[in-house]
């Protein structure tokens, strides 16, 4: 155990853990939104994230003609490219999520099959997407071009307030606030909540169930697409199986926070990001996953519904 790293690098680890955790949170939303409505784990969400990372990279290379050996952008052009790439990634992921719902789940739901069939369908879709991209990408890592220079606002107590770190944190918080307002205030948000509480009663109230479910997938895809953009902009690489580890981390975040509720995904991801950083620093990187899953098991033993599972049931999506 190395506590000296913790004392000297505490704020650096906390800042980095927050940024990473919020990327987990955004992906976790893809799981939690769908679970809230359908009580189904959409395992394909991790691959939707993976497709988002490739989309981000391809938009930068093909649309904006960026290359590994070109310098980063600045000024208005930088903002333009970043915004359009973010929107492109979100759009691709939203459309893919809607397509996955249409192809993999809707028919099963219409035929009244049990959840196990949907679960297998979800896993099958996930493998299909991952293997397709593996074949198309030569199954190796790909570096994304540097669009955003990693300049820093400054260093406080060892924490480096880098532009990409701050952009991820601020944007993720904004996305959560917007989503929370959307779910609680908008017409569609209320419909999503109604379906989440009772599918049968929602139908009786005249809610178009298929439309609500498709839109729920789309919203999950949008947040997952945003996560893919921030991930690729920060780490500048992707690979066909990138969704596996991040998907597990995001799913764990959703379960840790209480799957099915928005705030659970937010705090679950945040907790996981911080926990990973501190565990790596104190115990060594090889103990990171062991620590994280040990904590998850302990939390679930004490509170099976996750940290926020029961407490904020009413704000559940």
């Amino acid at each position: 155990m190395n506590f000296s790293v913790l004392t000297s690098e505490f704020w650096a680890l906390a800042l980095q853990g927050t940024a990473l955790g919020l990327i987990y949170s955004l992906i976790a939303l893809g799981y939690t939104m769908v679970y809230g409505v359908l009580r189904l784990i959409n395992f394909a969400n991790s691959e939707i994230f993976m497709v988002g990372t490739f989309s981000t990279m391809l938009i930068e290379i093909v649309v904006f003609k960026r290359a590994i050996d070109l310098p980063a952008l600045s000024g208005g052009k930088l903002i333009f490219v970043l915004l359009l790439t973010l929107m492109g990634s979100m759009l691709v992921c939203a459309l893919l999520a809607m397509l996955v719902e249409l192809v993999a789940y809707r028919r099963l739901r219409a035929r009244g099959t049990n959840r196990l069939a949907s679960l297998i369908s979800a896993i099958g879709t996930s493998i299909f997407l991952s293997e397709s991209v593996r074949l198309l990408s030569g199954s190796r890592s790909h570096s994304a071009p540097r669009v955003l220079d990693k300049w820093s606002f400054g260093e406080v107590a060892g924490a480096n307030f880098r532009i990409d770190t701050m952009m991820t944190i601020v944007a993720a918080i904004v996305i959560f606030i917007v989503l929370e307002i959307f779910v609680t205030k908008s017409h569609l948000g209320k419909a999503i909540r109604a379906v989440s509480m009772s599918e049968e009663n929602s139908k009786l109230m005249g809610i178009n169930l298929n439309r609500v479910i498709t839109m729920t997938f789309a919203i999950g895809g949008l947040t997952t697409g945003a996560a893919a953009f921030f991930y690729t902009t920060t780490y500048e690489n992707t690979v066909f199986n990138v969704g596996f580890n991040l998907g597990i981390a995001a799913f764990t975040s959703a379960v840790l926070g209480g799957i099915g509720n928005l705030r659970g995904a937010f705090y679950g991801g945040l907790s996981l990001g911080l926990l990973e950083q501190f565990a790596s620093a104190i115990l060594g990187s090889q103990w990171k996953s062991v620590t994280v899953f040990l904590v998850l098991v302990l939390v679930l033993l004490i509170k099976p519904s996750g940290i926020f599972g029961e407490a904020v049931q009413q704000t559940r999506t």
């Binding site: 980095q16 590994i68 050996d69 190796r140 570096s143 820093s152 500048e236 690489n237």
Partner: protein, 382 residues
């Protein structure tokens, strides 16, 4: 034992005899034998295999062009630099009766899990790049003798060279050691650590489960340790992510790695962060050893403009088999005997033979490589 079972057993035994006889006859009358080149051709570490394959391809093409009695067919066996994949690939190669030798494996983890199959099949291996010490350690359970051989020196030699090259120009600096938990990476770092007291001090150590997306906690540890040098034991794709994270977080010290990092893909993967990275490899670049005409021929046959890492040792490995086949050895057992007992001249001019554990006697000295202006250059012999 019931009658049905006995009859089945007898049938199986007869079939085995017949097929065995057919296989033997085929081997005796061989006009073509197959050599498998085993390494990563897809996956994260593919560049290592992609870089070295042209060495074997060139040697075999030149040999086949002489219209020999027994031609050689090269096949690729892709085990992705992954021991688990290799454990599935190797039995298939061993079961292919046409294969009389293996050039490979590229990675030590692959070798570790392939050796049991090749030992059982009596199939010779000549590796151009697997450097983990335990593969030729007679006391290790991973010892590959008598089938495993390598034309490169092992990490007991590369480790001290890496420690020396990484700290070159600094006076006993603090060094942070990191490995990727692979048999190769972890083994190399053990060898570096053993040699380090002569060149610097250990400021900290970590083992990282790869693939890892976020390296920032490791960066924090490196910065907290005050290390002026970071030595990474692992492969190019992960090293690229790590060095990017170090530079993006303001770390200005030296970053160094072994031959796993030294692939032609590394500068492209790491971008500007690759600049100044120091690497070692027990290899001398092919283009520095051959004439312009040979290099032109190599480029024409392989389609590769700049020969990558371990082309030289893959070329030497292929020539060992070629020489054995020229001498009339076309079965697995005779080729294995030939490889175990032979003496050859490498393209670098030095003599190559193997000791009883499969380690090279002779072989190239460890070289220091450097990334300059986005390209890997051969810096010096260490």
């Amino acid at each position: 034992m019931n009658k049905k079972f006995t009859r089945g057993l007898a049938l199986a035994a007869s079939a085995a005899l017949v097929f065995g006889a057919v296989a033997t006859t085929q081997a005796n009358a061989a006009s073509e034998v197959t050599i498998a080149v085993q390494g990563p051709f897809t996956g994260d570490y593919a560049q290592l295999g992609v870089d070295q394959y042209p060495g074997a391809q060139f040697a075999v093409a030149k040999y086949n062009a002489t219209k020999p009695k027994v031609k050689i067919k090269l096949i690729k066996a892709d085990s992705q630099c992954d021991g688990t994949v290799a454990a599935n690939v190797a039995p298939g190669i061993a079961a292919n009766a046409a294969v009389v030798g293996v050039i490979g494996t590229s990675c030590s983890g692959e070798a570790r899990n392939s050796i049991p199959s090749y030992k059982a099949a009596g199939l010779a291996m000549v590796s151009p790049s697997a450097t983990a010490v335990d593969l030729t350690d007679p006391l290790s359970k991973n010892n590959g003798s008598p089938v495993f051989h390598r034309v490169v020196v092992n990490d007991a030699t590369q480790g001290p060279a890496l420690a020396k090259y990484a700290t070159l120009g600094l006076k006993k600096p603090k060094v942070f050691l990191i490995d990727d938990k692979s048999p190769y990476g972890a083994g190399l770092i053990v060898a570096v650590k053993d040699a380090l007291p002569a060149y610097g001090t250990v400021a900290g150590q970590d083992s990282v489960p790869v693939p890892l997306s976020d390296w920032t906690s490791v960066v924090s540890k490196v910065k907290a340790s005050g290390a002026a040098v970071v030595i990474y034991g692992g492969y190019d794709a992960d090293a690229a992510k790590f060095v990017k994270a170090l530079r993006d977080n303001g770390y200005k010290g030296i970053f160094a790695g072994g031959d796993g990092v030294d692939t032609s893909a590394f500068p492209g993967l790491a971008g500007s962060a690759a600049e100044g990275v120091r690497m070692t490899a027990p290899d001398v670049p092919f283009d520095t050893l051959v004439s312009k005409a040979v290099l032109k021929d190599f480029q024409k046959i392989t389609g590769v403009k700049v020969p990558g890492l371990y082309v030289t040792s893959a070329y030497d490995s292929a020539n060992i088999y070629i020489d054995c086949i020229k001498k009339g050895n076309t079965t697995r057992s005779t080729i294995l005997d030939c490889v175990n007992d032979g003496l050859w001249k490498g393209i670098g001019g030095g003599a190559i033979s193997f000791d009883q554990d499969g380690d090279v006697i002779g072989g190239a000295a460890v070289g220091g490589y450097l990334v300059k202006k986005g390209k890997i250059i051969y810096d010096k012999k260490l």
